[in-house]
């Protein structure tokens, strides 16, 4: 029997990036807010301090900061003819857990999406005609533009202190930045990170081939910075322990460094950790949420009544929470009807290894999660897709994030996989190899979706989320074309041997690719093809807002976090300035 707690104005499900941002905006507007976090409380001191935080076996291999999949995981299959099985060890993607969420263990790569990403369908039809979109993909527009989001990107980047170089200031092109970006109101808050040697080789080679290299925008900071919340961050020390780790130096933007210390002091805010939300409760008609039910670490059940429910639990959990709570119509692939779980997308990544002679010293250990040089010449619609027969694109960059000893041992493709020859090759190539990343878009497909698993349940007896996914032919074509372009750059860098591997199907769940899971609670202007309106408000239950990469109708070439932050501020703005004054549907 659940204990009923006193009603609060708002509850956030998850206290990661979204929960922290919304917690701050809503308490500032005078609301009493409770943040429910399923994981443990964590802080830079003491939890992320050295030397233990550099324990590669613990954090990279045993994945200590990730969601506990002995209690709660995802089942997976490539297509509807297969039976999905639970993922018992995270491989392809790494969902975080705990206070601060995945924004604790991210790399800090902080790009804006382009306007052409937000208008993928209409732009494709305008430029290439309706027939250019094949039947295996379901691209759609977001219902917002880059101009709508610009002030919110700006605000988020200044909260984080992002280090970078503008390429377009209010319509004026600026040398050294990304020439393809949409106009931004002002420069990045801090200058770009130092350029590593391998990235400099990439810059010269790419510029020589006529491309437009620029420094990757980074939330590991190039110099000390005090954000508008009054919190000071320090300079990145280039230790190379970012993704899968917390930052000991207060140098990586995460809720712990940019906002939580302020939020936790707010008397209107209450944080509860180790609280597993089971469902959002609805009134008799199912039109309004009345609060949530959760279980604490001692196994006691509580009902927390709330007038406003913010779902910010990471893309996959956002989808599952709506399905468990009966909010919105689940997507049915057989009929194409329904929306919750529809348009699940991912990221189509590949790599090119550039093997140098021994007098080229790459020093991969002197890196950071986001430092390096990239080109956007093949991103989004920055090039003519006409001859190629695919939509979407990828950025290409020398953005190596580490040279950690257990994980990083590049060897040429013809090397034995173990034994003395393999060891010799590791010694020969460790310090003389650059890895180019090809970070590609993922276009939604009617075949790729999320629903509740019919068989497997979590530790609380609730059905697991089931993922059905494989790369659409469109994305494999994209990967083949752009990986080849990256190989050309690798040869121009002076590589003695250049080994590219375009992404090929089938999608494998056991090889790490990226944690950029998107879609499933898509935003849009049409309730028939979206779960939330353009303000991220549920079409069906107007006091539920769902925020995160689950809002993406499909995934773009760039990393998603900047857009998640911008969407969170965009939704918060609508909530505070419109919804609170007159609760009800915003669209």
């Amino acid at each position: 029997m659940a204990t009923r707690l006193p009603e609060v104005d708002a509850v956030t499900l998850g206290v990661g990036l979204v929960g922290t941002l919304l917690g701050r905006e809503l308490t500032r507007a005078g609301l009493k807010v409770v943040g429910l976090e399923r994981g443990e409380p964590r802080a830079t001191v003491p939890d992320f301090q050295g030397p233990q935080i550099h324990d590669e076996l613990r954090y990279s291999i045993r994945k200590a900061l990730m969601q506990d999949n002995a209690r709660e995981t995802v089942t997976f299959r490539n297509n509807r003819d297969e039976t999905a099985l639970p993922i018992r060890r995270w491989g392809s993607f790494l969902p975080g857990t705990g206070l601060g969420g995945a924004a604790v263990h991210w790399n800090g790569q902080t790009y804006r999406f382009q306007d052409s990403d937000f208008r993928l369908r209409s732009r494709t039809v305008e430029r290439y005609g309706r027939n250019f979109i094949g039947p295996d993909i379901s691209p759609q527009d977001w219902g917002v533009t880059a101009a709508d989001l610009e002030p919110h990107y700006d605000r988020f980047e200044y909260l984080l202190g992002v280090s970078g170089k503008a390429g377009n200031l209010e319509g004026r092109k600026v040398n050294g930045g990304n020439p393809f970006e949409d106009p931004r109101a002002r420069e990045y808050p801090t200058p770009p990170m130092k350029e590593p040697y391998g990235s400099a080789l990439f810059r010269k080679a790419a510029a020589g081939l006529g491309y437009h290299p620029y420094p990757q925008p980074s939330a590991n900071l190039s110099r000390p910075y005090t954000n508008p919340e009054g919190l000071t961050m320090n300079t990145c020390m280039f230790c190379g322990y970012c993704e899968r780790y917390g930052c000991e130096h207060f140098a990586k933007s995460s809720p712990q460094t940019i906002l939580l210390p302020v939020l936790l002091k707010d008397p209107n805010y209450t944080l509860r950790t180790n609280c597993q939300v089971l469902r959002i409760n609805l009134d008799k008609d199912g039109r309004q949420a009345t609060g949530v039910t959760y279980i604490d670490a001692a196994g006691r059940e509580f009902e927390q009544p709330a007038r406003l429910v913010i779902v910010g639990m990471f893309a996959l959990n956002n989808v599952r929470m709506l399905l468990l709570s009966g909010i919105g119509k689940p997507y049915a692939p057989a009929t194409g009807q329904g929306v919750v779980g529809r348009n699940y997308a991912y990221q189509t990544t590949s790599a090119v290894d550039v093997f140098f002679d021994q007098d080229v010293h790459i020093n991969p250990f002197m890196r950071s999660g986001a430092n390096g040089t990239v080109i956007s010449d093949f991103v989004s619609d920055n090039f003519d897709h006409g001859p190629h027969g695919f939509i979407g694109g990828a950025y290409v960059g020398e953005i190596m994030s580490h040279g950690r000893p257990i994980e990083f041992h590049p060897v040429p493709p013809d090397t034995p996989k173990w034994g003395a020859d393999w060891k010799r090759a590791v010694v020969r190539h460790y310090n003389h190899t650059s890895v180019l990343s090809i970070h590609g878009s993922s276009v939604a497909s009617p075949r790729n979706y999320l629903d509740l698993d019919p068989t497997y349940k979590d530790a609380w007896g609730l059905p697991l989320l089931r993922m059905t996914f494989d790369f659409p032919e469109n994305d494999l074509k994209m990967s083949a074309y752009i990986t080849k372009k990256a190989e050309e750059i690798g040869r121009a860098m002076g590589g003695r041997q250049v080994a590219g591997s375009p992404r090929k199907g089938p999608y494998t769940i056991t090889q790490y690719q990226t944690t950029h899971n998107t879609g499933g609670t898509v935003m849009g202007t049409d309730p028939a093809t979206s779960v939330v309106n353009r303000y991220l408000q549920s079409w069906d239950v107007s006091n539920v807002f769902v925020i995160g990469a689950s809002n993406f109708p499909q995934n773009a070439s760039y990393n998603p976090t900047d857009t998640v932050g911008a969407l969170a501020y965009w939704a918060a703005d609508a909530l505070v300035n419109r919804y609170l004054k007159s609760p009800g549907a915003l669209a």
Binding site: Q52, R62, T97, N234, E243, Q511
Partner: protein
């Protein structure tokens, strides 16, 4: 005479003439012997505020000489000396002292309490004021992380206090990252004393002896939630999340695949 011999001479200058049977090199104007303050083996002299420099990384020592010369590390004694040395001599001196190993004196006796407080700051930091642990850069127990980060273990207490104050008041501003001024400004006087006392009493492991790294001492975990929901204190250490896995493949860049990827489709 090779350059190392030259440097030894420079460092020893001021000793009785019989020490040098080879012709004395021409020395830059104003140079006085390092050893008159830093000791014959670079062991330092707390009475004159001269730190131990034996065994500090060469790159670190060279950078300090450069900083004394350009004013980014203010010191009225060292400035004229450093200014009189050319780059090559600075590097040679730094290389020479980096190779010296000299026994430590007995630890300075201090009350236990400030040492314990200093140990906490040095190894764990202070979350409330966003002070990170010294050990993140200066190594476990302050043994240093060459080539950039000096060891702190066994440096004299007064020197450590003085240099932390110099970071705080801006008379020392020669770290590339700008971390040290931020950290020092957040430290109170008694904390500076406590950290200095801790490191002054610490001793690095003897050469060749491997001392396994230890995790930071157990302390209460981060920002706890309120207890409306009656949460028990969260477990410390490992959670159910940790999972074994073959140590193949791994990440490089945003899912680039690194080592594993090029072979994936073959």
């Amino acid at each position: 005479m090779n350059s190392m011999e030259f440097v030894m001479l420079l460092a020893l200058l001021g000793r009785p003439a019989h020490a040098a049977e080879t012709p004395r090199p021409t020395l830059p104007q104003g140079v006085i012997a390092c050893e008159s303050c830093h000791g014959g083996q670079g062991q330092g002299n707390p009475a004159v505020g001269a730190p131990r420099i034996a065994g500090q990384p060469a790159a670190y020592l060279a950078r300090q000489l450069e900083s004394f010369a350009d004013g980014s590390r203010h010191n009225p004694t060292m400035a004229p000396i450093a200014k009189s040395l050319d780059d090559k001599t600075r590097e040679a001196l730094a290389a020479y002292y980096s190779t010296l190993a000299v026994p430590y004196g007995p630890p300075e006796k201090r009350a236990k309490n400030p040492v314990d407080r200093g140990k906490r700051l040095a190894r764990v930091g202070d979350g409330e004021r966003a002070i990170q642990a010294c050990g993140n850069c200066h190594g476990p127990d302050g043994i240093g992380e060459p080539p950039s980060y000096p060891y702190l273990a066994g440096l004299h207490r007064d020197y450590l206090v003085a240099t932390l104050r110099a970071w705080r008041d801006g008379s020392r501003r020669n770290d590339a990252s700008g971390q040290m001024p931020i950290i020092a400004k957040r430290m109170k006087d008694d904390e500076i004393e406590a950290v200095a006392a801790y490191y002054a009493a610490a001793r690095p492991p003897a050469p060749g002896i491997h001392r396994p790294m230890r995790p930071a001492p157990a302390v209460p975990r981060g920002n706890a939630g309120d207890d409306d929901g009656g949460n028990p204190p969260p477990p410390s250490g490992g959670t159910g999340i940790e999972q074994g896995e073959p140590t193949t493949g791994g990440s490089q860049g945003p899912g680039g695949g690194g080592a594993a990827n090029p072979r994936q489709n073959r």
